[in-house]
Symmetry: C2
Subunit: 211 residues, 2 copies
């Protein structure tokens, strides 16, 4: 599976945890090595540069999202959508340093900035297909133009919500995110357009997360 217990893979795991906890900029290669109890020289044997560690983690993140984008076409009901959003927020949360530290990341590693743009483009296409599917299956009722705007808003929300949450007082910045709550907030975007037959599940969620 993904996590063999090689030193190389332990480095990736520890780096991800530290990047998420302390920020990409604040975590040096020394810190990663110290966290694992290995020497900086040993770490350098496995990854010649910090950039390579970030690139591997970024690649894994891309693959996670690409899989989720691929299944966007098969969503034809609100509960399917809620589950899909939930899974997406979980993935983004596991690699939360990527979007949270995006400005720093793109500045330090321009190639990754480019790939982040490409990934967003792909997310947008998947979201548009998703919204068109929701219209086609009668879950929501909107114009084609409005559906495109909805897709953009959904990508915006999934991309930035977890970073914004840290700015809202009352949520501890260090506490882990609640993907369910995030998914609910994303669903409120389509709420005004949901057809009467599909409204029951939305009301159920509203009771769960606003109660």
């Amino acid at each position: 599976m993904a996590s063999s217990n090689t030193t190389r893979d332990r480095i990736l795991q520890a780096s991800l945890a530290l990047f998420n906890a302390q920020g990409l900029a604040a975590v040096s290669t020394h810190k990663i090595a110290a966290e694992l109890g290995i020497s900086p020289g040993n770490l350098h044997y496995h990854f010649k540069a910090k950039q390579l560690i970030v690139e591997w983690l970024f690649r894994r993140f891309e693959q996670r999202l690409e899989v989720l984008d691929g299944s966007a076409g098969s969503i034809t009901a609100i509960d399917d959508l809620w589950l899909a959003l939930h899974l997406r927020f979980e993935a983004i949360d596991q690699y939360r340093f990527i979007y949270r530290d995006m400005a720093f990341l793109a500045g330090e590693y321009p190639a990754l900035g480019q790939r982040a743009q490409a990934l967003t483009a792909q997310n947008l296409l998947a979201a548009q297909a998703l919204c068109e599917g929701l219209v086609a299956s009668g879950v929501i009722e909107t114009s084609a133009e409005q559906a495109r705007i909805l897709a953009l808003q959904m990508v915006f929300t999934t991309t930035c919500w977890l970073s914004f949450e840290r700015l809202v007082p009352g949520r501890d910045a260090l506490a882990q995110a609640d993907p369910g709550l995030a998914a609910f907030y994303t669903l409120t975007l389509i709420s005004p357009y949901v057809s009467s037959e599909s409204r029951a599940y939305l009301d159920y969620l509203r009771g769960k997360y606003l109660g």
Copy 2:
């Protein structure tokens, strides 16, 4: 006025421009001094630490937003709202490094991270008052609960939109943002709830920004 031509103020102006263009992390005090054609020692005479520069810029940003929050109560029509959003996006764009590099900023200067949370709390209160006012003046029709969610979505959008825009391919990352477009996207949040009397202005904007 705000910008006397003292060296101290020129440092603040150049720092803001460089932070916006290259990112808070990538701009050293040496770079700022070089940009101005002064020595690092001279810069240190005016600001004993980089943190102090950032704090001054942050304070100016706070004041800009606080003024805008203060006038939120007097908004009772869609075109007022559009103007207010426009002004807010302009302010955020002028200090765009703050939200864009927020994760880095909060990590390096925890005190500013706290103040950013407090600022967000204030923005939320203002947005809630705004939405309540829109309901009271008949511009939108929603439940009180829905109005609170709308306020949260509006603060989320104004805070994060300009950072997200850089991820959307087709917009050059270096090109300056379009506050009008951003304001229009924010208005689409309340679009489903706008009463029939107030819809004309929304349709006008839709033609302008989607055409």
